[in-house]
Every structure is written in structure tokens, then in C-alpha cells.
């Protein structure tokens, strides 16, 4: 194999690895953002002071919902996406 082509392939792989890292960071970053919000504005979580609160005030907990969205993305979307990214990377390398 030509050394120049190998270096190009390496650069492309490094770029794709960066993309995989970026995708896998989205969920945890969202979770951290939700947790940080919960610490900065704990009064937005009415579950911490539930007495006298109605259903909606106990059900809708924005910082916790942000955390849940992050978890769902990290567990439900990101793993398959990273897998497909690796498969595409392998296809491109084979071509």
C-alpha cells in the first residue's frame, strides 16, 4: 500500500472516531446539564417538597426530564448510531 494513502486513511479514521466521540458525548452532556440545573434551581424539582402539590407539579419536573432525555438518547439512540458509524467506516475502508 502507498504510504500516502495509508496516512489519508488514518486521518479519515481519526475524523470518524471524533464523530463517534461527539455522538457518545451528547447523552452524558445532556444528563450533566439537567443535573447542573437541578443543583442551581432545586426549587424547580417539586418532588423535593411534595406537600400540597397537585399532579402536574409533581409530574412535570423539567431538570429531571432533561436528565431522562439524556439517558434515553445515551441508551436508545447513541449505541446503534456509533455501531452504524463504525460499519460505514469499515465499508469505506474496504472500498
Amino acid at each position: 500500500m502507498n504510504a500516502e494513502l495509508a496516512s489519508q486513511l488514518k486521518a479519515r479514521t481519526a475524523h470518524r472516531t471524533a464523530r463517534a466521540r461527539a455522538v457518545s458525548a451528547l447523552g452524558p452532556l445532556t444528563i450533566v446539564a439537567g443535573l447542573a440545573w437541578a443543583f442551581v434551581q432545586p426549587y424547580r424539582i417539586t418532588l423535593l417538597h411534595p406537600r400540597g402539590q397537585g399532579f402536574w407539579w409533581l409530574f412535570v419536573e423539567p431538570p429531571l426530564w432533561v436528565v431522562v432525555v439524556g439517558i434515553l438518547f445515551a441508551l436508545g439512540v447513541a449505541p446503534g448510531l456509533i455501531e452504524d458509524l463504525a460499519a460505514e467506516e469499515a465499508d469505506a475502508a474496504a472500498r
Partner: protein
């Protein structure tokens, strides 16, 4: 047992956050990789369409003036149109990529509706401020779906489009029924109850 209006805003904020994350991931990996699994290709257009459907009960139960009703009805229609057009493209029923301009139209109509239906000034109270801010954000951000429709795979347009939804989510999470904005609260707005 209806939720308070601010809760509805927070629920939609969560929907926009989901949309933003999906679109951001699609911008990072590219549409080919994103579309490798069919369910994923349908995910965000279906979610956008569903949010449009949920906007109808918001229009019916949470509006207290004609202009509010019209604005919420317009949002419901353009969200369903944008989501439906993307679903059609993913399914292959629609061929022309120019159908993606429906999202640009949705942004422009939504932003304009925000600006027109807010009758008070920026510093009247927090929700008034956010209506102006969201309106101008959406009108300005129309450039992203417009560019995305005309120049697919442009990282700037794709990521700008995705981040607009994340920013909208943040703005909607900030919304309260009655609260000051940067220390300003018009006496005409009433007393904050939380």
C-alpha cells in the same frame, strides 16, 4: 384537570430537546449513517408531526383570545406540514428535496406568529420577553432550514438547524406563567404566584 400553561411549555421544551439531540446526532454522522436503521430515519420527523398534533389540544384548551388561538393553530399546522414532508421524503413518497423548504416555512410562520400574538413589550413580564426572543430567534434561524434544503450535508446549516431546537428548548424551559424578567415586571401583569 388541565396542566398550568407553563407546564405545557416545559413539555414542548422537552419535545424540542429530543428533536435537537436527534438532529445534532444526524448532523454529526451524516444522513446516510443516520438513515441506516429505518426507525431512526422516521424518529425526528415523526416526533415533529406528533408535536404538531399535540398542539391542537393546546390551541383548544389554553388560548384565551382569537389571536392566541390563531397563533397556536398556525403552529400546529406548520409543525404537521414540516414533519409530514420529512416523513414523505424518508418514505420515498416525496422525491424533490425542495419539500425540505416546508421546515423553513414552519420556522418563518412560527416566528412571525410568536411576534404578532405577543401584545406586550419585551419587559412586560418573562413570558412576553420570551415570546419576542423566540419569535426573533425563529425568524432569524430560518436561514438554517433554508440552507439545509438547498445545500444538504452542509455542517453549518445542519448543526445550526439542530442547535436552534436546543436553544428553543432552553427558552421554553425558562417560561413561567407570571414572573419578572431581569427585575422587570409590569404592575399590570399581576403578582407572581410561584
Amino acid at each position: 384537570m388541565q396542566p398550568p400553561a407553563e407546564h405545557v411549555h416545559w413539555m414542548f421544551a422537552t419535545g424540542f430537546l429530543v428533536l435537537g439531540l436527534c438532529l445534532l446526532a444526524e448532523a454529526i454522522v451524516g444522513p446516510e449513517v443516520w438513515g441506516r436503521r429505518r426507525w431512526r430515519a422516521y424518529l425526528w420527523p415523526g416526533f415533529a408531526f406528533g408535536m404538531g398534533i399535540f398542539m391542537w389540544p393546546v390551541m383548544v384548551f389554553f388560548t384565551n383570545s382569537t389571536i392566541h388561538t390563531l397563533a397556536h393553530g398556525a403552529w400546529a399546522q406548520v409543525m404537521m406540514l414540516a414533519g409530514g414532508a420529512e416523513l414523505g421524503l424518508v418514505r420515498g413518497k416525496l422525491k424533490s428535496p425542495l419539500w425540505r423548504l416546508c421546515i423553513a416555512l414552519a420556522f418563518l410562520v412560527s416566528g412571525t406568529a410568536f411576534l404578532i400574538h405577543e401584545q406586550n413589550g419585551w419587559y412586560f413580564q418573562r413570558s412576553a420577553f420570551l415570546h419576542h426572543l423566540i419569535g426573533w430567534t425563529m425568524v432569524t434561524a430560518t436561514i438554517f432550514p433554508l440552507g439545509r434544503a438547498l445545500r444538504r450535508r452542509s455542517l453549518v446549516f445542519e448543526s445550526g438547524f439542530a442547535l436552534t431546537f436546543v436553544v428553543l428548548a432552553v427558552f421554553l424551559y425558562c417560561d413561567r406563567d407570571l414572573a419578572p424578567i431581569f427585575g422587570h415586571l409590569s404592575p399590570l401583569a399581576g403578582n407572581p404566584h410561584r
